[in-house]
């Protein structure tokens, strides 16, 4: 079970959280302006890296806020977590244990 640091509540067990997939995939301001390919990209295509991944978590059984995290999908070690809306922090390989 992961230990996840909620930006508001601090380190909490994974049981309190739900996952939200890749972060920083903004909903287009005007979806009608997108053609089918671009729209399906937005709907379905996500990065799936073996390495540092920016992802969304919801502290569903805590403060219920959505936030973002950088996590190494190979080791499952978190690099950092940060509030929704904040830009993705720089991360380097050293960040990852």
């Amino acid at each position: 079970m992961l230990l996840i640091t909620c930006p508001h509540c601090g380190p909490r067990p994974e049981l309190e959280f739900t996952y939200g997939g890749e972060a920083h995939v903004a909903r287009p301001a005007d979806p009608s302006a997108l053609d089918d390919r671009d729209w399906s990209e937005f709907l379905f295509v996500r990065n799936n890296p073996k390495g540092v991944f920016a992802e969304r978590w919801n502290h569903a059984h805590g403060c219920q806020r959505w936030f973002n995290a950088l996590r190494d999908t190979h080791s499952d070690a978190f690099v950092t977590t940060y509030p929704a809306g904040a830009p993705r922090p720089e991360s380097t390989a050293e960040d990852v244990r």
Binding site: M1, T18, D30, S75
Partner: protein, 1000 residues
């Protein structure tokens, strides 16, 4: 009861003042408190304890520890408390305990399965891949049943488990796994920091190897005295928890370590009924110290599996800890030094001991001298080429190794017990589970912790330190560092005989293709099986494991893995790491399902959510159905009524009089804020800006992919406040979705969401007489059509309770939904019930609700829709706003396939036979006589008997359905097909006048 002829006169940690008796295969044997089943049986001279998996070879104890592959027993602790595959050395003897051997018939001594042993030349590794293929049908009917019957060890429990199991989440600063010298020293050091320390050990008492060390001293005191003092010192610390009988079996992400504590199995049944049998601990540790010790390796030689042939250190444990003579005339066979300590202790216990050392004399001078000083005969430079005896070893066949490597003349050493030692394998299982990387250390012939993945340290034998003083010092340093102290110290400890010369298979003069030298005892994997695997091209150790099943038995290869790796490396003439090491997976030792389940069984398996009115329904004999986690009243049968009769009666009551229905499970969300209407505009397909306060509107919500997610009535309580309702099952995901968009996409909107699902009990009154029932209980709300028309809402008091009163209908009749604070729900329900008696008010359940709405063609999300259905598919395309620039799912509605012709559309169905009720899920076809695969037009989503129509009705999703009105189609039944006609979806009151109740 036999008198323990092999019990030594003195010594051991057993309590001779407390005798006990256990049963094994029907015989009763005496023992003492502190015995294990294995030590008690051996004290009585019982060596034959089991049969091997494949060849049914007679087997005795190999090891006193949890690495035991052979002596696996059925243990019977009373009705429902029978379980298989218990390691004899790990089961503590309890007075009256009943045990038995496994995998044999008719008896352990005479097992017909032993015929496999004769056929062993055929039953080699992977033989089943090469045959049993012809004739084809025989695999299922003949071959496999035979193989399955032969496989498996013990018998699965036949009854539900009456025992209780507990769970505990715990946190500590330092978790120390293993309470041997390294672990105890680590705990001593960590305890000084005052931080929270947990010390866990799988054995009945802490001390590890020190519990059978009768010669060493530590800091001037005998080893076992040092253990006692250390435990006392630890007990003096508030912040230290010591858990014996507790196995750390799993090392998961972020220092999450799973332990299982055995609480009652070592106690007499009388004392244990209320207490949990086992407890699963889930520990989140800031730092972990692994002091998990090492496992001794067997020697690989012909017939090395006879009962009485054990690991040398286990003999030492039996003599020193349990005061049991494993035999009278013992041969120690070794390629290393540690076995000489065992030999010395056995000798000191008065047993006859001879040592056979496969190392050349020059390589074991110090050891032979040590033995000579104690009057122990040593045969250095001798290999072992076989053993004698059937159900008990009677002799060991040895031969000198010549300088040229050839084997000299054989001689047989008579004996009744053999202790073998092929070196030591550090127990790196948990380290490997933590995903740390191992590195091969040629000098120690061991894989040792190298690269760490988590906040963890290994110390002592599991890190390659075999000497006592080194274990203590390393443990102390690790414990201190884990606790954030920069302390080290040295311990004055007796020297330890360490070091060994790895020999994968002992040299022999026999044809290696003929002899069977076992590597994995339980699975009967021999050296020649491994040779065959390599010959057939299986060169990765994972392939070898899977092909031969070596290391795959219940001991998970604790004694066999290194011998197998080494042998394969030798066969491939490559260095050992290139063959790879098998990655260890949890659990370290097998864990009871019950412990993992814990309290989560029966009523606590999964919550049953109940409404405030649930008890009333139960008292009225309601039949319930599960809906998501809720249980809801399904129907209210009267005496003698079946479901059909009850539902028909309930339906008529609503259409002709009045029914009362518990709708409390509906999801409810209070949407508050100046941007509330705009927020709903973005979430729903339809618009909300123009909805006036006091009015209600039906809302439809999509996922971003354009398919229907949920629906429900939304009431506007004020300009900036909406009372949103959702489906029962959809409540959590709708709120989650709304919060997601609000927080991450539109944080600029001034809106807050609050779930009020459980704040309000919801009582639906439906039917022409609904107003008559409700009116007397409503003080301050005008219920007239003019003041409170269909789809409107008012706040006021019902039975003096503040209420949100909605005039809405899911039945097509005049209807109200009374929302009152939940704790008042029952009282208001009962008041309405009482007031309704004069009007024949009838309680109805979800089935009737379903029938009534189906008669009106109202959809139920999740029944008419299934996650691939658009608003237009169910005839609600008209609801979709054409003016709103955007809402969730709007763009997807324009995707090619969602606007393509031929989509399935919701229609009504009437069967030719008015009494034929179609199966929900039945498929609709045009031509039932078409060849397979028969093209399908769609499927039935809802199907009921409709009392109002006096016939069955159905809803279905049918390709181009709205263009097929009047068409005859064929619908599958369990018997064949039924003819049905496609029609519109509204079966009752097509004009929709009843809901307005204008006549009143």
């Amino acid at each position: 009861m036999s008198r323990q002829p092999f019990r030594l006169a003195q010594g051991g940690r057993i309590d001779r003042s407390r005798t006990l008796a256990i049963r094994f295969d029907g015989e009763t044997y005496g023992g003492f408190a502190g015995d294990t089943v294995a030590s008690a049986l051996l004290a009585n001279g019982v060596h034959l304890m089991g049969r091997s998996f494949k060849y049914h070879r007679p087997r005795g104890l190999l090891s006193v520890g949890t690495d035991e592959p052979n002596a696996l027993l059925r243990v019977d602790r009373g009705p429902g408390r029978v379980d298989p595959n218990n390691r004899a050395g790990a089961v503590e003897a309890v007075d009256g305990l009943v045990t038995g051997s496994q995998n044999r018939w008719p008896s352990l001594a005479f097992d017909v399965g032993a015929v496999n042993d004769v056929l062993s030349p055929v039953f080699v590794a992977g033989f089943y891949y090469k045959t049993f293929m012809w004739p084809r049908a025989f695999w299922d009917r003949v071959y496999e049943p035979v193989i399955r019957a032969a496989a498996g060890l013990g018998v699965a429990p036949a009854d539900p488990d009456p025992d209780r199991y507990a769970h505990r989440h715990a946190h500590c600063d330092v978790l120390i796994v293993g309470a041997g010298p390294a672990g105890l020293a680590a705990a001593l050091a960590a305890a000084r920091s005052g931080k929270r320390v947990m010390l866990v050990d799988e054995q009945a008492e802490p001390g590890g190897a020190l519990l059978h060390d009768v010669t060493s001293t530590i800091d001037g005191v005998p080893a076992q005295e040092w253990v006692a003092r250390t435990i006392a010192a630890l007990d003096a610390h508030e912040s230290v928890v010591v858990l014996p009988r507790t196995t750390a079996f799993g090392y998961y992400n972020h220092n999450h370590v799973a332990l299982v504590e055995r609480i009652t199995d070592h106690l007499p049944a009388s004392e244990t009924r209320e207490a949990p049998r086992e407890r699963l601990w889930q520990v989140r540790a800031a730092e972990v110290v692994l002091a998990t010790g090492a496992h001794e390796r067997p020697l690989v030689f012909a017939d090395n599996d006879r009962p009485g042939i054990m690991l040398a250190e286990s003999l030492r444990v039996l003599v020193n800890r349990y005061a049991v003579a494993p035999g009278r005339e013992i041969v120690i066979a070794t390629t290393g030094s540690s076995a000489y300590t065992a030999a010395a202790d056995l000798k000191a216990a008065g047993l006859t001991v001879t040592v056979v050392d496969a190392r050349l004399a020059a390589d074991c001078v110090a050891d032979t001298a040590f033995a000579a000083d104690r009057g122990i005969t040593v045969l250095p430079g001798h290999t072992i080429v076989g053993s004698k005896g059937r159900r008990r070893v009677s002799g060991l066949i040895v031969a000198p190794l010549r300088a040229d490597g050839s084997v000299g003349p054989r001689r047989t050493l008579p004996c009744d017990c053999v202790g073998m030692s092929g070196g030591w394998t550090p127990a790196v299982h948990l380290f490997s589970q933590s995903r740390g990387k191992l590195a091969y250390d040629a000098a120690r012939d061991a894989f040792l912790p190298a690269t760490h993945a988590q906040a963890e340290r290994s110390a002592g034998a599991c890190a390659g330190d075999m000497a006592l003083a080194a274990c203590l010092a390393a443990g102390f340093a690790a414990g201190a560092a884990a606790a954030g102290l920069e302390e080290t110290r040295t311990f004055a400890a007796s020297p330890t005989r360490t070091g060994f010369q790895p020999m994968r298979v002992l040299p022999t003069d026999a044809d290696p293709g003929r002899v069977r030298a076992f590597i994995d005892f339980q699975n009967d994997v021999t050296a020649k099986d491994l040779k065959l695997a390599v010959r057939e091209g299986f060169h990765s150790i994972e392939h070898v494991k899977r092909y031969t099943t070596t290391g795959m038995a219940t001991d998970q290869g604790k004694t066999s893995n290194m011998n197998a790796l080494g042998l394969v490396a030798g066969l491939l003439d490559t260095e050992l790491p290139r063959v790879g090491t098998t990655t260890f997976r949890p659990p370290y030792t097998p864990v009871t399902f019950g412990a993992l389940v814990g309290p989560g069984k029966g009523a606590l398996f999964e919550p049953v959510r109940k409404t405030p009115i649930d008890g009333w329904a139960e008292a009225r004999g309601a039949v319930f159905e599960p809906v998501s986690l809720w249980r809801r009243a399904w129907y209210f049968p009267k005496a003698g009524e079946d479901m059909h009769a009850a539902v028909a009666r309930e339906c008529r009551a609503v259409r002709e009089g009045v029914g009362i229905f518990d709708a409390s499970t509906l999801g409810k969300i209070e949407v508050v804020g100046p941007d509330a209407a705009e927020f709903l505009n973005r979430m729903y397909v339809n618009g909300w800006s123009k909805l006036a306060p006091g009015k209600c509107r039906y809302g439809l919500m999509l996922k971003e992919d354009g398919y229907i997610l949920d629906d429900g009535v939304v009431a506007r309580m004020a300009d900036d406040r909406f009372h949103v309702t959702t489906t029962t099952g959809g409540a959590p995901r709708v709120l989650t979705l709304m919060e997601d968009y609000l927080q991450t996409e539109w944080p600029d909107l001034d809106v807050f969401l609050t779930s009020v699902t459980e704040q309000w009990a919801v009582i639906a009154l439906q039917g022409p007489r609904a107003r008559a029932v409700l009116a007397p209980l409503v003080a301050d709300i005008d219920l007239s059509n003019e003041a409170l028309p269909h789809m409107s809402v008012r706040e006021g008091f019902v039975c003096g309770v503040p209420a949100r009163l909605m005039r809405v209908s899911f039945t097509g009749e005049l209807g109200y939904e009374v929302n009152v604070p939940a704790d008042y729900g029952l009282a208001v329900w009962e008041a309405l019930w009482a007031a309704g008696q004069a009007h024949g008010v009838t309680p109805y359940g979800t089935e009737t609700m379903h029938v009534l709405r189906a008669e009106k063609g109202f959809i139920i999300v999740g029944q008419e829709t299934d996650g691939t259905v658009t608003p237009d598919d169910v005839g609600l395309g008209g609801m979709v706003s054409k003016v709103k620039p955007d809402f969730v799912g709007k763009r997807s509605l324009a995707r090619p396939d969602l606007v393509a012709p031929g989509r399935k559309q919701l229609v009504g169905l009437e069967t030719e036979d008015p009494h034929e009720r179609l199966d929900e899920g039945a498929q609709v076809v045009r031509d039932p006589s078409a060849p397979l695969p028969v093209p399908m037009l769609g499927h039935v989503t809802s199907s009921y008997f409709s009392p109002a129509c006096g016939r069955t009705i159905a809803l279905a999703l049918v390709a181009d359905g709205r263009a097929r009105m009047g068409e005859t189609v064929h619908v599958t039944t369990m018997a064949g097909f039924a003819r049905a006609t496609i029609r519109d979806t509204v079966f009752v009151d097509a004009e929709g006048v009843r809901v307005h109740a204008r006549e009143s």
